[in-house]
């Protein structure tokens, strides 16, 4: 075999094989076999034309293109073909997967926001509750270590936190992968998939619908991202107000207790 005789071809095929890691074995073997046949034939033609074997191999490889570029197109086609084939054969499932993934991601984000809000609330409320308890004790009134409400909130927060910790990580990975997979396919395919061509055509035909869709998605994304921050700010404001109210109340009690 020429590839065994000519180190340039052997090295080229090895480099191409490495870069085709994402392609399944059967298809990778087909690509490599076709490339090897092509390069062997090109070297033979070069030798027939009067070149020495190594010069002919170098010229053949130059004409064929860098292994990264060749593999990039093959990988792009591979994933694009599979994704496009699946999308065409299961349009309902593809739509449901995309919509469901968006919904799951939004729900998870909202859950994280609620969990973060509860946690922040408990964290910031602790000093206020402790101070209130101390004030009650100083006044000679009963002050249990934990009120039923506080214990309930803490229990619910701990349960929600545990549930989220168990669910969020794997579900978030699955959801984000499903949502970003079409984008990955487009990037790997170099933007030459029939799917992207259709998207471009629709964008040109219906610019307003396209803009409204992306605007809605952007607004939903911004809202989802703002939820944790908004919850935290609201919690902080509420606790600050509580703290101020308790301070004023303590000062008023002190004034009222002073004799005459």
């Amino acid at each position: 075999m020429i590839s065994a005789d000519v180190p340039e071809i052997t090295a080229y095929l090895a480099a191409l094989d490495t870069r085709l890691a994402l392609v399944g074995g059967r298809r990778r073997r087909r690509i490599l076999a076709e490339v090897e046949d092509h390069l062997r034939q090109a070297v033979e033609d070069g030798v027939t034309a009067g070149l020495d074997r190594h010069t002919a191999a170098g010229a053949a490889i130059d004409r064929f293109g860098p292994p990264g570029a060749v593999a990039g197109r093959a990988v792009g086609r591979h994933w694009a073909v599979r994704a496009e084939s699946w999308r065409r054969s299961h349009p309902g499932r593809a739509t449901a997967l995309f919509a469901g993934s968006c919904g799951v991601a939004a729900a998870l984000s909202a859950g994280v926001a609620i969990g973060a809000g509860v946690f922040l609330l408990l964290l910031l409320a602790r000093p206020v509750l402790d101070r209130a308890r101390a004030t009650r004790l100083e006044a000679g009134r009963s002050a249990p270590d934990r009120t039923p409400l506080e214990a309930g909130v803490m229990l619910a927060g701990a349960a929600a936190g545990s549930l989220l910790a168990a669910l969020v990580a794997p579900a978030f990975v699955v959801a984000t992968t499903a949502v970003t997979l079409p984008g990955i396919v487009i990037v790997l395919s170099g933007g030459r998939t029939p799917w992207q061509a259709k998207l471009r055509a629709r964008r040109l035909q219906h610019p307003w619908a396209w803009g409204a869709t992306w605007g809605g998605l952007a607004a939903a994304t911004a809202l989802t991202a703002a939820l944790p921050l908004g919850t935290a700010i609201a919690s902080a404001l509420a606790l600050t107000a509580m703290h101020g109210y308790q301070t004023v109340q303590a000062a008023a009690d002190q004034v009222l207790r002073q004799p005459g």
Binding site: R30, I31, A33, E34, V35, D37, H38, R40, Q41, A42, R63, F64, G65, P66, A69, V70, R73, A74, G76, R77, V81, S85, R192
Partner: protein, 106 residues
Amino acid sequence: MRGELLKGVLGTALLQIVSAGPMHGYGIIRELSRRSQGSFDLPEGTVYPALHRLEHEGLLESWWVVEAGRRRRMYAITRKGEAALGEQSDSWWAFAAAMKTVLGTP
């Protein structure tokens, strides 16, 4: 020829070449280079993904053969490919005629 322009017509050119009879990848690329008189200066390795795409779309079919102890992948046009070639050729000639009218004779 500019890359983007070539990509738009590469499939049609490949179908036209293969329509003459079954050919292997190397032969198709050589014929493409010969007919275009070197104007299609794209890397040869990029032609194979185009062939695979045409095969996936059912416009080409392929199979392995052994020639002189070497395995080669042969490509042939399908009925669907012949129909597509006819449509694409008509579109191209109409487009070329319109561009010729727009640009005028050099």
